[in-house]
C-alpha cells in the first residue's frame, strides 16, 4: 500500500501539465451544505512559476493503456504509477476545501482498462462529493475520450466545467506523436456536451427546477511547440473551436520536454516556448475581448506572431492609416485598439472626457502605458504634426524604451496584457 503522500506526489506531478486552473464561470450556490462557486474564480496561491493555484489538480491514476509520445503518463514511460481510491480523492478535496486551500477539484485521469471503466470511477467521485458531502464547491472534470454519452451526460449534472484536450493543434501533428488518437474523438464529446448545455438551458426557460448542467462550460488545451504547426494554424483551430463548440477557454501550453525517446519531439533541456505561448494568449484575448478578427492579426501572408512585440502593437505598426486616434472623440472600439491602452483605461477615458478634453498628464495618471501609446493617439495638448512618423522608427523607439516588459512576463493564463 502506497502512502497517501506518495500518491499525491505522483498524481499531482502527472496532472500539472494541464495548465488550466480556472475556477470561474460557475454560479453554484450553497444549498444547506458546504461551499459555493465564486463567479470570477479565486487563486488561493501561486506556484514559483507564477501560475495560479485554484484547484486541487490531480489524476485519479497515471496508469494508462495508451502511449502518447508527449505525455509523462504514457504506457512505455518508466515512471512510478499510483491510483487514488474514490474515498481518498473525496477526503482530500473536502479537507483542503474546508481549510480554504482550494476552490475545488480538477480531476482527470490516465485511461485504466478502458474509457468507461475510468469514467465510471470519476463519476463516483463527483457524485459522492455532491450527494454525501453536500459539497457545492467547484468541480472541473476532464472527461475521457471514448466514454459513453450516458456517463458524460450524468457527470454533467454534477460538475461545473468539463474539458477534453485536443493535445496537438492539428490532426497531422497528433498522428505524428499519438497515432492511436484523433481529433474526432475530441470533437464528438465537445459537440455532445454543447448540445446538452443548450437543451438544458432551453428547458430551464420552461421549467424552473431544471438542474444546472456544466454551468461553467467547456474548455480545451493544445500543446504548443511539440509539433511544427505555425501560429496561424493554431489560432485558426482555436477560433474554430470557440465558434463551433462555444468553448469558454482554449489553453495553450508550451511543450516541456519530458523524455528523449521520440526524435520528433523537442529534447530535454530545450526551453519551453514561453514567449510564444504568451503571444498566443494575447492573440486569443484580442479576438475575444478587443473586437479583432483573426485575419487582422494572422493570415496567409503573416503566419507567425512577432516574439519581440505583442500582437496589438504589431497590428498597429502594420496599420498606420488607423492612427492617430483622438482619445477625446473616438469611440470605445477605436480606443482599445491603441497599443498601451486596455479596456479599463478606455472606459475611464470615455467617462472622464465628459468633464473636459483630456491632456497627456491626465492620461498618464489614468494609468495607460503612455510611452507606448503616445505614438498612436492625439489628446488635448498633442503638438500639431504633419504626416506621421515612420512605423519602423516607432517600433525601434518602443523597443529601446525598454517598455517591452512582455519578454519577461511569460506566464501562462494570467498575464499582463498590452
Amino acid at each position: 500500500m502506497q502512502r497517501i503522500e506518495e500518491k499525491l506526489k505522483i498524481l499531482a506531478d502527472a496532472a500539472k501539465y494541464d495548465v488550466s486552473c480556472s475556477s470561474s464561470g460557475s454560479t453554484r450556490k450553497n444549498r444547506d451544505g458546504i461551499g459555493d462557486a465564486s463567479a470570477s474564480g479565486i487563486c488561493h496561491t501561486y506556484t514559483e512559476d507564477g501560475r495560479c493555484v485554484s484547484l486541487l489538480k490531480i489524476l485519479l491514476t497515471n496508469h494508462c493503456i495508451y502511449d502518447c509520445a508527449f505525455c509523462v503518463s504514457r504506457k512505455s514511460n518508466d515512471v512510478k504509477r499510483a491510483a487514488f481510491t474514490v474515498e481518498e480523492v473525496v477526503d482530500l478535496t473536502m479537507n483542503f476545501y474546508r481549510r480554504n486551500y482550494i476552490e475545488g477539484l480538477f480531476l482527470s485521469s490516465g485511461i485504466f482498462k478502458n474509457a468507461d471503466f475510468t469514467m465510471e470511477r470519476m463519476l463516483r467521485i463527483v457524485k459522492k462529493l455532491r450527494q454525501e458531502e453536500r459539497y457545492n464547491g467547484y468541480i472541473h472534470l476532464k472527461t475521457i475520450p471514448g466514454a459513453s454519452e450516458e456517463m458524460v451526460k450524468e457527470a454533467g449534472l454534477y460538475v461545473d466545467r468539463m474539458s477534453i484536450n485536443l493535445e496537438l493543434p492539428t490532426e497531422a501533428g497528433l498522428k505524428l506523436v499519438a497515432p492511436e488518437k484523433d481529433h474526432e474523438s475530441v470533437r464528438k464529446p465537445l459537440a455532445f456536451v454543447n448540445e446538452q448545455m443548450k437543451s438544458f438551458k432551453e428547458e430551464k426557460k420552461l421549467i424552473k427546477h431544471t438542474p444546472i448542467f456544466v454551468p461553467a462550460g467547456q474548455s480545451t488545451q493544445m500543446v504548443i511547440g511539440a509539433t511544427p504547426e505555425n501560429d496561424f494554424e493554431i489560432m485558426q483551430v482555436a477560433n474554430d473551436f470557440y465558434k463551433n463548440y462555444n468553448l469558454k477557454r482554449v489553453y495553450y501550453s508550451g511543450y516541456i520536454p519530458i523524455n528523449n525517446g521520440n526524435s520528433l519531439l523537442p529534447q530535454i533541456g530545450s526551453a519551453p516556448p514561453l514567449v510564444r505561448e504568451n503571444r498566443l494568449y494575447q492573440t486569443d484575448w484580442l479576438l475575444r475581448f478587443y473586437g479583432f478578427q483573426l485575419d487582422e492579426i494572422l493570415n496567409p501572408q503573416h503566419i507567425h506572431l512577432d516574439l519581440d512585440i505583442d500582437p496589438k502593437l504589431s497590428w498597429a505598426l502594420r496599420n498606420p492609416h488607423f492612427f492617430p486616434v483622438d482619445v477625446n472623440a473616438a469611440d470605445f472600439n477605436a480606443i482599445i485598439r491603441i497599443p498601451g491602452i486596455g479596456r479599463q483605461s478606455a472606459l475611464k477615458i470615455i467617462q472622464a472626457r465628459k468633464f473636459g478634453r483630456l491632456h497627456a498628464y491626465q492620461l498618464q495618471k489614468i494609468g495607460i502605458a503612455y510611452n507606448r501609446a503616445k505614438y498612436f493617439l492625439r489628446c488635448a495638448d498633442s503638438p500639431f504634426m504633419l504626416g506621421h512618423p515612420s512605423m519602423e522608427y516607432v517600433r525601434i523607439a518602443i523597443l529601446n524604451a525598454g517598455n517591452q516588459k512582455s519578454r519577461q512576463q511569460v506566464s501562462a493564463g494570467q498575464l499582463t496584457l498590452f
Binding site: 450556490k29 514559483e48 512559476d49 507564477g50 479537507n95 474546508r98 481549510r99 519551453p272 477615458i349
Partner: protein
C-alpha cells in the same frame, strides 16, 4: 480645519454632517491614532451621533444609489488619510449637486478615490484567497490574518455563505478583533493576549484536530508537486504572493 472623530464610519459621516452645518468645506478628518495630533491647532472634536450619520448615509444613497454609496465605506476601511479626504471632497460635490463627479478621472481626488477602492478590493480578494484555516480538536476552524486594510467586514458574508456548516474564527492580528461564526451567525470578538498566544502557538495550547497536521503536510506536498521547475519565474511569483503574506500561508511557511 481638522475634525477629530472616534475612528468609526459613523463618526466619519458625522464629520461630513458637521462640515455642512458649519459651512467648513476644507476639512481634514483625523482620529486619536494620528501622530503628533497636538500639532493640529485648529481642530474640532466631533461627537458621533448615529442619527446624523444615518441622515448623511441616506442622503448619499438617494443621490447616487446604494451600491455606489457603499464605496465610501470601502474607502473608509482603507484607513488611508488621503482617501478619507478624497471621500470628503467627493461627498461635498455630490451634496452640492454634482452627482456624476465620480467619472471625473481627470481630477486628482476622484482618481485617488478610484485607485484606493481598487486596492481595498484587491486586499479583500486576497483575504478570500490567503486565509488558511486550522482545525482544532473541538472542531473550530481558525485563521489568523494581518490585512493591509481593515477588510474583515467586507469578507464576512463570503465566508458565512461558503463555510455554512462549520464554526470558524478569522482573527485580525493587527487590529485585534475577529469574526466568529457559530454556524448560525457571525459576530465580532476580541481575544485576550493569552488567547492570542494560544492560537499562534497551537502546539502548546490549543489541542489540534489529530489530522490537521497531516493535511497541512499534504497541502505543502501538493504545492511542491504542482510546480513546473522549467517555468520558474520568481518575479511573477512575488508579484502575486508578496512576502508579507507568507507568515500565515501554510505552503509558504
Amino acid at each position: 480645519m481638522y475634525y477629530l472623530f472616534d475612528g468609526t464610519y459613523l463618526g466619519f459621516l458625522c464629520c461630513v454632517f458637521e462640515s455642512f452645518e458649519r459651512k467648513e468645506a476644507t476639512v481634514v478628518p483625523i482620529t486619536s491614532e494620528d501622530h503628533q495630533i497636538d500639532l493640529f491647532k485648529d481642530r474640532r472634536t466631533i461627537v458621533t451621533d448615529n442619527a446624523k450619520a444615518l441622515r448623511v448615509q441616506k442622503g448619499v444613497q438617494e443621490r447616487i444609489g446604494n451600491a455606489e454609496a457603499m464605496d465610501f465605506y470601502r474607502a473608509f476601511l482603507s484607513e488611508d488619510r488621503k482617501a478619507w479626504q478624497a471621500s470628503f471632497f467627493i461627498l461635498h460635490q455630490i451634496f452640492t449637486g454634482r452627482t456624476a463627479i465620480r467619472q471625473h478621472y481627470g481630477n486628482d481626488h476622484v482618481l485617488y478615490f478610484s485607485q484606493i477602492l481598487k486596492k481595498v478590493s484587491r486586499e479583500r480578494h486576497r483575504m478570500k484567497a490567503f486565509i488558511r484555516f486550522s482545525k482544532s480538536s473541538d472542531g473550530l476552524f481558525f485563521a489568523l490574518v494581518e490585512p493591509d486594510f481593515n477588510v474583515l467586514p467586507l469578507i464576512s458574508d463570503f465566508f458565512r455563505k461558503r463555510y455554512a456548516d462549520m464554526p470558524w474564527l478569522i482573527y485580525d492580528m493587527k487590529r485585534k478583533y475577529g469574526l466568529l461564526f457559530d454556524t448560525r451567525q457571525v459576530g465580532e470578538v476580541q481575544l485576550s493576549p493569552e488567547e492570542v498566544q494560544d492560537t499562534t502557538m497551537p502546539s502548546v495550547a490549543i489541542a489540534m484536530d489529530e489530522r490537521d497536521e497531516l493535511f497541512q503536510r499534504l497541502w505543502k506536498q501538493y504545492y511542491t508537486s504542482t510546480n513546473i521547475e522549467a517555468r520558474k519565474n520568481m518575479k511573477l511569483h512575488l508579484q502575486h504572493v508578496p512576502r508579507r503574506y507568507w507568515k500565515y500561508l501554510v505552503e509558504k511557511k
